[in-house]
C-alpha cells in the first residue's frame, strides 16, 4: 500500500524543480536535491533528458543515487565518460548544456550567488567550498535554475562575495555584459525553494511565481532579506501527483536520505 503522507517541503522543491525541466534536453546535474529532481523529470516531464556530471560523464544512467558527484555508478552504463578538460571545454563552454543547476550559501534579488565565504575574504567568518564549476556554469549553460532553502541568512540584500554572476545589477546591465563578454547563456530563469517558485521579471529582479501549498506569504516575506516582489494573485504550486510522490519515496530516495 502506497505512502499517503502529504508532500513535504523538500518534496515540493524536488517536484517543482522537475517541472521546471520540462522539455529540456541536456542538464548539468548537481548532487543531492538537483540529482533527485533531474531523475524525477527524466521519468515524467523530460524523458529524453541527458544527464551531464561535471566529473566527466555524459548520458549517465545511475543505478543508485550517488552520494558524491563523482560516484562510480554514474560511469557504469553512461554513453560517454571523458576528461574534465573535455567536459568543461567541449560540453560546457562549447555551449552544449541547456540547463545548469546551482545552489549557494547566499543569493541576492538579481540571482547572483555566493559559495565562497561568509564575511571578509581574507579573514572569513565561514569558509565555504568556493566556485567548483559554478562560476563557469553560471555564464555558459544556456539557462540556470537555482535550488536553495530560503532564510534571511541565504536570501540577502548584499552578497558577501559574488562567486557566480546572475543578472548582475539588473537585466539591462546583464544583457550588455552577456553580449560584450560572449556569455553562452541567458542566466538564471528560476529559483525553487522550500516555500515557493520564483522567476525573474523583465528588469532582472526575482519575483514570486507560485507559493507551495504548505507555505504562507508571511513565511516567504519573513525569510527574504529584501522586499520580495509578490504578484497580486499568487497561484499555488501544483500539488505533486501520487505517482510523483511514489517515484520519490519508493524509487529515487527510498531511505529518505535527501528528501524528508
Amino acid at each position: 500500500m502506497s505512502d499517503q503522507r502529504p508532500a513535504s517541503k523538500s518534496e515540493l522543491m524536488v517536484v517543482a524543480s522537475a517541472h521546471a525541466l520540462a522539455g529540456r534536453r541536456v542538464c548539468f546535474v548537481g548532487v543531492g536535491l538537483p540529482n533527485i529532481a533531474v531523475n524525477l523529470a527524466k521519468r515524467t516531464v523530460a524523458p529524453e533528458m541527458e544527464l551531464v556530471y561535471e566529473a566527466g560523464v555524459f548520458g549517465a544512467n545511475p543505478a543508485r543515487l550517488p552520494l558524491s558527484i563523482g560516484d562510480p555508478t554514474i560511469v557504469t552504463g553512461s554513453t560517454a565518460t571523458v576528461s574534465m578538460h573535455d567536459l568543461f571545454g567541449l560540453y560546457l563552454q562549447g555551449g552544449r548544456i541547456d540547463v545548469g543547476f546551482l545552489g549557494g550559501a547566499q543569493i541576492d534579488r538579481f540571482g547572483n550567488l555566493n559559495t565562497t565565504v561568509i564575511g571578509d575574504y581574507a579573514a572569513p567568518k565561514t569558509r565555504l567550498p568556493g566556485s567548483g564549476g559554478a562560476c563557469e556554469i553560471a555564464i555558459n549553460a544556456k539557462e540556470i535554475l537555482v535550488i536553495m532553502r530560503q532564510s534571511t541568512r541565504s536570501f540577502v540584500k548584499e552578497l558577501d562575495f559574488r562567486t557566480s554572476p546572475g543578472n548582475l545589477g539588473g537585466a539591462a546591465a546583464a544583457a550588455k555584459t552577456r553580449a560584450a563578454q560572449g556569455w553562452g547563456g541567458s542566466g538564471p530563469s528560476g529559483v525553487i525553494t522550500d516555500l515557493g517558485v520564483y522567476g525573474f521579471d523583465h528588469d532582472g529582479e526575482m519575483a514570486l511565481r507560485s507559493l507551495h501549498p504548505c507555505a504562507t506569504l508571511d513565511e516567504v516575506r519573513a525569510s527574504i532579506g529584501w522586499e520580495i516582489r509578490v504578484p497580486q494573485n499568487v497561484p499555488l504550486t501544483p500539488t505533486p501527483t501520487a505517482e510523483e510522490l511514489r517515484l520519490i519515496r519508493e524509487e529515487l530516495d527510498p531511505t529518505g536520505a535527501y528528501v524528508s
Binding site: 562510480p72 568543461f88 581574507a122 567550498p129 566556485s131
Partner: protein
C-alpha cells in the same frame, strides 16, 4: 624499455617529495592516492604547497598533520557530505588554534584549475577560458587575468600554467615502465602528470607490457614522464577505483564527525596513519571483510580489435 621503475611507496615519497615542494595528488572523486598522502604524513614533509581541484579528505588529513603551508584548489569540501573541518580551522581566523597560522589560499574554478594544468602540460604561458566574468574571484586572485584576443575586440580570462614539482596519480594498472591505463572518471590525471616535473604513478595492479600494448588507446600517461611506479592495492581507499572497489561513503560521513574535533582528528591520524607502517597494514587493520562489501559485481567493457598488421 628502460629498467623497472617499480618501488615501494616509502621509497617513492622519500625520493620524489621534498619539503617545500608543490605537490598535486589528483583524481576527481575517483582514484585519489590516499596511500601517498598518508606516507607523506608519516615522512613528516613540511611547507608543502598542495594543489588539487578538490582537496577532499586527503588534504584535510595532510593539513591536520601539519604538512601544508598553502592550498591551490577550486572546490573545498567533503563531496556529498559537507565541509573539510581541519582545513576550515586553518582558514577561519576565529577557529585558528594558538600558535597556528592561516593557510595561504589560491583559488580558482574547476575549469580554471584544469586550464592551469593544461597550460603547464602544453608549456603555454597562459590558458584562455570563458569564466570569471563578473565574478569576484579575479579581485581576490591576482593570477586570474584577462587576455585580449588578436581576432576582434574580445577579451577572455586566462590562468597561468601550474607545474607541480611532483604529481601523484592513482589508476587501475601500469607496467613497470610506468605506462598507465585508467578507465572511469579521468579527472585531470593526464594533464596534471604532464605538467609535473616528477610523476609518481600508483596502481592497483602491475601488468605485463603486452597488456598495455594490446589496448594503446587506454593509456593515459606514458612511462616517458613517470619517475616511480608503486603497486598499492586499495591505495585509493576511502575514494574508489572503477571496477575494483566502491567509494567508502560511510567513511566520508564518519570523517565529518572526526574532523570537527582537533583532538579526534589527531587521534585518528595516530591510529590510522602514524600507527601503521604502510598501506598493507592499513588494509589489514580494516580486515578483509570490510573491503568485501565495497567490491562491485562485474560489468565488462567487452573487447575491440586493433588488427594485426604485418
Amino acid at each position: 624499455m628502460s629498467g623497472s621503475k617499480l618501488v615501494d611507496m616509502r621509497t617513492a615519497i622519500a625520493e620524489h617529495v621534498h619539503d617545500g615542494d608543490t605537490v598535486a595528488i589528483e583524481g576527481f572523486t575517483h582514484c585519489i592516492s590516499f596511500a601517498a598522502g598518508h606516507e607523506i604524513i608519516r615522512q613528516r614533509r613540511r611547507n608543502l604547497t598542495l594543489a588539487r581541484m578538490t582537496p577532499d579528505l586527503v588534504y584535510d588529513q595532510m593539513v591536520a598533520a601539519g604538512c601544508a603551508k598553502k592550498l591551490i584548489f577550486s572546490w573545498l569540501g567533503n563531496p556529498g557530505v559537507g565541509s573539510l573541518h581541519a582545513i576550515r580551522r586553518r582558514t577561519e581566523p576565529a577557529a585558528l588554534a594558538a600558535g597556528e597560522s592561516l593557510l595561504e589560499i589560491e583559488e580558482y574554478s574547476h575549469h580554471g584549475m584544469v586550464g592551469r594544468y593544461v597550460a603547464g602540460a602544453h608549456r603555454l604561458p597562459f590558458y584562455p577560458l570563458r569564466s570569471y566574468s563578473e565574478s569576484d574571484l579575479p579581485n581576490v586572485n591576482p593570477l586570474i587575468r584577462t587576455v585580449q584576443s588578436p581576432f576582434g575586440a574580445e577579451e577572455v580570462y586566462a590562468v597561468p600554467p601550474l607545474n607541480p614539482d611532483v604529481t601523484i596519480i592513482h589508476a587501475q594498472r601500469a607496467d613497470t615502465d610506468g605506462n598507465v591505463q585508467m578507465w572511469g572518471l579521468l579527472g585531470c590525471q593526464k594533464e596534471a602528470a604532464f605538467a609535473a616535473k616528477r610523476v609518481i604513478a600508483v596502481v592497483e595492479e602491475i601488468v605485463p607490457t603486452s597488456v598495455i600494448r594490446a589496448d594503446p588507446n587506454r593509456t593515459i600517461v606514458p612511462g616517458l614522464i613517470v619517475h616511480a611506479v608503486v603497486r598499492e592495492p586499495l591505495g585509493a581507499h576511502p575514494s574508489y577505483v572503477q571496477g575494483s572497489y566502491d567509494r567508502d561513503n560511510a567513511f566520508y560521513r564518519e570523517w565529518d564527525t572526526i574532523s570537527r574535533d582537533a583532538a579526534a582528528t589527531e587521534a585518528w591520524l595516530q591510529e590510522w596513519v602514524y600507527g601503521v607502517p604502510d598501506r598493507a597494514a592499513y588494509v589489514a587493520k580494516f580486515g578483509a571483510d570490510y573491503f568485501t562489501r565495497l567490491t562491485p559485481t562485474s560489468a565488462p567493457s567487452g573487447s575491440v580489435d586493433y588488427g594485426d598488421y604485418r
